[in-house]
Symmetry: D2
Subunit: 279 residues, 4 copies
Amino acid sequence: MGVPMAAHVARTVPTRVWNRTFSRAEAHAAEFGSTAAALEDAAGADVIFSCLPTSAEVDACIGQMLPFLRRGAVWVDCTSGRPAAAREQAARLAEVGVAFVDAPVSGGPAGARAGTLAVMVGGDEAVFGRVRALLDSFGGTVLRVGPVGSGFAVKAVNNVLMGLHLLSVAEGLASLKKQGVDLAPALTVLNASSGSSFSSQNKVAQQVFTRQFSPMFKLGLLAKDAGIALENVQEVQGSAPLIAQTAMMLRAAQQMIGSDVDHTEAVRLLEALNGVELS
Amino acid sequence: MGVPMAAHVARTVPTRVWNRTFSRAEAHAAEFGSTAAALEDAAGADVIFSCLPTSAEVDACIGQMLPFLRRGAVWVDCTSGRPAAAREQAARLAEVGVAFVDAPVSGGPAGARAGTLAVMVGGDEAVFGRVRALLDSFGGTVLRVGPVGSGFAVKAVNNVLMGLHLLSVAEGLASLKKQGVDLAPALTVLNASSGSSFSSQNKVAQQVFTRQFSPMFKLGLLAKDAGIALENVQEVQGSAPLIAQTAMMLRAAQQMIGSDVDHTEAVRLLEALNGVELS
Amino acid sequence: MGVPMAAHVARTVPTRVWNRTFSRAEAHAAEFGSTAAALEDAAGADVIFSCLPTSAEVDACIGQMLPFLRRGAVWVDCTSGRPAAAREQAARLAEVGVAFVDAPVSGGPAGARAGTLAVMVGGDEAVFGRVRALLDSFGGTVLRVGPVGSGFAVKAVNNVLMGLHLLSVAEGLASLKKQGVDLAPALTVLNASSGSSFSSQNKVAQQVFTRQFSPMFKLGLLAKDAGIALENVQEVQGSAPLIAQTAMMLRAAQQMIGSDVDHTEAVRLLEALNGVELS
Amino acid sequence: MGVPMAAHVARTVPTRVWNRTFSRAEAHAAEFGSTAAALEDAAGADVIFSCLPTSAEVDACIGQMLPFLRRGAVWVDCTSGRPAAAREQAARLAEVGVAFVDAPVSGGPAGARAGTLAVMVGGDEAVFGRVRALLDSFGGTVLRVGPVGSGFAVKAVNNVLMGLHLLSVAEGLASLKKQGVDLAPALTVLNASSGSSFSSQNKVAQQVFTRQFSPMFKLGLLAKDAGIALENVQEVQGSAPLIAQTAMMLRAAQQMIGSDVDHTEAVRLLEALNGVELS
């Protein structure tokens, strides 16, 4: 995700890119006109973007860059992170005069390339204003949804709903197959009906029926995001039975199928529970 | 639903309409060029359409019309019915030489008026061929999904998914509100993201945030459809945890809120469980 | 179950036993002092007991015996049957002047041998009075719980709760094992605490930890009973989220593990979902 | 709980008791032969017992006592706490040479008075050995279940199972009532059958059918414990669908009914979902 996002930023303002593997930064510079920078140089930017697997990696990255950060800078974290981590990161950065917004994205590599990502921003209105043009460079729908952590909270809900929609259409199709229904036309007509979802429209015919399951977004990461959504529900003493069940089912799928497969392979859990293949 | 559907049919072939309240049939005739008919005359048509609240009403209607049906006719039931009922109805009609297809629809009154309904058809390929042009008169996506009962099976899955998507986005929003997130931009960005669904896009801002809940499709009927979906899962010894939970939650909502309110009021269940209002 | 139950009855009143395999009836007669009888003779008794796998077998048995039944007799069905089937069976038998009570039992082969079964009776108070002494011959707790069908309704709830308790203690133990807790003392102390259940006390150390899973009560039958409980909930438009989920999990277990294994093997579902063995 | 537990300890060894309200400590001393002590004196004991509502209060208490603790002492926490908190508390105390075991209890005030509590201990074998006699003074079943935190982990599972059993028997009874079954004999026979549990045997006839709901153990605390159990499942990436659902239902009950009522009032949630009263 980070590669095309940084390319859009580089088209807007002079941009330094840093990567643990320096040659990847150099490749980005060569292709998109950014500048490959050492960590300490990248850390001196006015706006710093991070986009990592989990909040733990962001914590580590902040730790490395902390001595080199410039007072008055803004750190924009596009990771699908934990709201509680965002609040701690914001506090830690505030001590060295750096503002923080969480700005996770949805739309996948295709949306990143097209510059049409949905961006859900948590942070102060004023800080958001300072980085908005840069977010707009790769985003289509860019909205502030509340204080620091709110972006991560919305992203976690988005991802658990995406997983829930995938699992639930798989449940429906598994039951239909056992009832002798033809799945291909059934899915087509569902997708023209009120029971459709992003997941049913974009994942089932493409990944499940073809049995391709091309790795795009890892099952382990989706299970992690669903876990964050449930953790957030628990923190505010909320009650979300369907989200809770989805989190449990995705962990089970991860356990039975693997962490590194595409998240759409989670349907294999329901295939196992029903003794059918969705094809 | 039946009024605009019959209007489309009447534009395609000479059409007799029957209603328990004869003046309603006359009004249809006056407005759409159909012919108001007595039950025994309507029963003599080549193709008979029924569109009633449940399979029980269809059973009653078949009983009334049975003596007047014409051998070689086709009965098309657009009710959101039970697959087991469809199989019994088909057998009963076969005894008098009448074929049966179940052809429930999705798209609501607007889709019915526009002639763009999704129609999911269960029945023999040949019988489907004989009524296809009439189904196309009010349908946009018209597909045969399997043998008799398959249409009802798919419709039940569609409706339980629609209800599930509504309940699950309400769960997510309730938890976000308790976390201090602004719901309006959160919904907008969810609807531009991978967690979106027909329900999140068409029902939440429109019905829930406005607290309008205009009665369109009754909660009691949605709970009934979810119950059919679960009954179908049980009949084939399937396992559909999310569908089962949705059926239970919709019955609870019906119990607590009422049968005759719009189905979108089901979100009040989650508002009660979380102590927040989604607005 | 039927063998020791009929033995107790035979100790109380002259008893004819019938079995599809006549030699089994003869063996019973030889061991317990009953009389092996042909179907038509058995059908002429004052009180008829049936104890079969499902209501379908009882329907078939009633069909075979119907011509030979004696007006004024009572049919006592100890099957774990469906309440709706009980009502139909009662109506069918009433036409030939035979009363019906459903009287399913709990307590297993050991309770049957000891004559301490719990018996939950659905039927008219007066009819119950006529067979009570016979039920007492094999029962410890014998109670009328309501009109015809009520016994089956209570039995279905009992069995789904038993299954639910088994699955839930397995969930808890699986999570404890992943947390590094020693399962044997954990179970012992749970069984001395408020979270204990019949299932946790009688099945886990005995069947699960030993990995014996001696076949006593088939998983397929437990899944069937849970399905009946859920069907009953649906029939009265009730909401029972935990029962629904248990029914779904037991069907999944049956699908993944098999119908004919002991029901305690259902814990293998949770072992798979968690990647641990409960031992 | 703490009062009778400390009374048993005081019968075994010289015991100082401390309470924020000194007169309560004095009352204990007068009645049970302990010594009312100032916080700094209590903190100097060889073995320190704490029994508080949540881990947060224990953290505060450790903070206050830390300067006065004696190197070589053992801190025994009988709170229903969080395993993660136990590990942090153990580390914090280790810095001043104090060992820690978590030793939550089950059995209620009656078990505490009788000295028959179940005690589930997490900590080093050797440390457990040093306090075992004291735990035996109020415990009936006292078992080490694993390293620090394990006691809390088992207690959380125990409590969520207790809540689950209560909710599930309420589901069953609500459905039976809607089916026209008599609840009193139905419960009696269930309690003599394989679907029984501690909750069904000790809470339903006593608290629910009588509508007394005498406050013993607060609903808010049970919901907290269920939340801990679910948090623990999530931490080890486990899958526990029934535990997750129970945690959600208990939070909903707390939201709808209140935090300070007896936990058995949680059945009111299912009464609301089903539109019946369990009486």
